[in-house]
Amino acid sequence: MLVAEDDALSRTLLERTLQRAGYEVISVENGAQAIAELVKEDAPRLALLDWIMPEVDGVEVCRELRRRKDQAYTYLILLSSRESKEDIVAGLESGADDYLTKPFNVDELKARLRTGLRILELEDHLVEARESMRFQATHDLLTSLWNRGVIVELMTHEIMRSRRERSCTSVMMCDIDHFKAVNDQYGHATGDDVLREVARRLHNSVRSYDMVGRYGGEEFLVALNKCNPGSAISRAENLRNKIAGRPIQTANKPVSVTISIGLALSTEFTECTIEEIMHHADMALYAAKAAGRNCVRVARPSGIGTPTDEQPKETQVLTP
């Protein structure tokens, strides 16, 4: 915990009392140092602040810390030798959780610190629960990828942004080939292992700012941000190879699977809605399946092309 007290004698007394009570104490001599300590990473969560300190006083420390809402809660106790009611109200309104009058009574000090710890513990539980709920609400339970709602929303934002910035977002619909056969042959537990591993490989094969989500049963949606249109196909091929390249070690036995990919570039569909772009990617995926699976097909405004197309030609168009 932190002790901020300008008077050396009080500081020493507090420090020793708190150390005896089992606290690890960092002590500082003024408010500015207190703020600097309390905003650090892994800062103390419990602080005893003297009310009157030169330049930055305890009340100002409280105000400053409460202004910063981005960090974990710090329990703040003001130490005051004043006794008037207005001061106490002003102190609490600045964001202090509690106050103590000096000279402090050791048992009271300890009891109030325990109250602080109880509140902090409660806060930690709540934050943990909230984070866990947030994760569950946004991620797919089996693969821990973004869930369908979130990946579509993130991709929508990304395409909007790439349109403003005149960059390109690649949308890839990836589907595991013959997945039903995996389930039928090896059982659903193995099928789940396969889904998890495909998800992991896709996730590990893109940059940290790209997005991968589970779109449906065995279907994954990958969005590559700021993607060079010329390299989108090779990146799709790379994803395909990551899956086809080596068998998946399941709890049961190694299982070889492949994926088919339908690719749509946002720059090719500047007039389309997000739903239409996804529909085009989906059509390209169907075309990849029809072409024998384990391959990539590209959606063009005029139809579907193969990865080797430089210029989409009429003959390669597979109209949906």
Binding site: D7, L9, T12, L13, R16, R20, I52, S81, P103
Partner: protein, 117 residues
């Protein structure tokens, strides 16, 4: 009822009988009370009441922490007087505080000497 100048026994109880720690605190006290008296005189000289009330506040805290209640009350009165810029009251209270401290300091010294031996 007259308050004791220095409730030493109460202080030692508060420190769980740790005489070594008492000594440590008294060393700080001896040093800091001198510094703050010095500051107070300077402040009175230049009618800097903010500086004076701050020094008085610090001394009040120290004295209360050490159970030197009579002098602590004088320091508290000095803090109030100087905050209200009452010049002659402040001067008088500072003189009184100094006298009270003069009575305590030899006791502090003998404590320090006693623990050391």
């Amino acid at each position: 009822m007259r308050q004791p100048k220095w409730a030493l026994k109460e202080l030692i109880d508060r420190l769980d009988g740790d005489r070594e720690f008492l000594r440590e605190l008294l060393v700080i006290f001896r040093q800091d009370v001198r510094v703050n008296l010095q500051k107070s005189h300077e402040a009175i000289g230049s009618s800097d009441y903010e500086q004076l009330s701050r020094a008085a506040h610090t001394m009040k805290g120290m004295l209360r922490n050490l159970s030197m209640d009579v002098a602590a009350e004088t320091a508290a009165a000095l803090e109030t007087a100087s905050r209200e810029s009452r010049g002659s009251d402040s001067k008088e209270l500072l003189e009184r505080l100094e006298k009270e401290l003069e009575e305590i300091l030899p006791e502090v010294e003998s404590q320090l000497a006693g623990v050391r031996s």
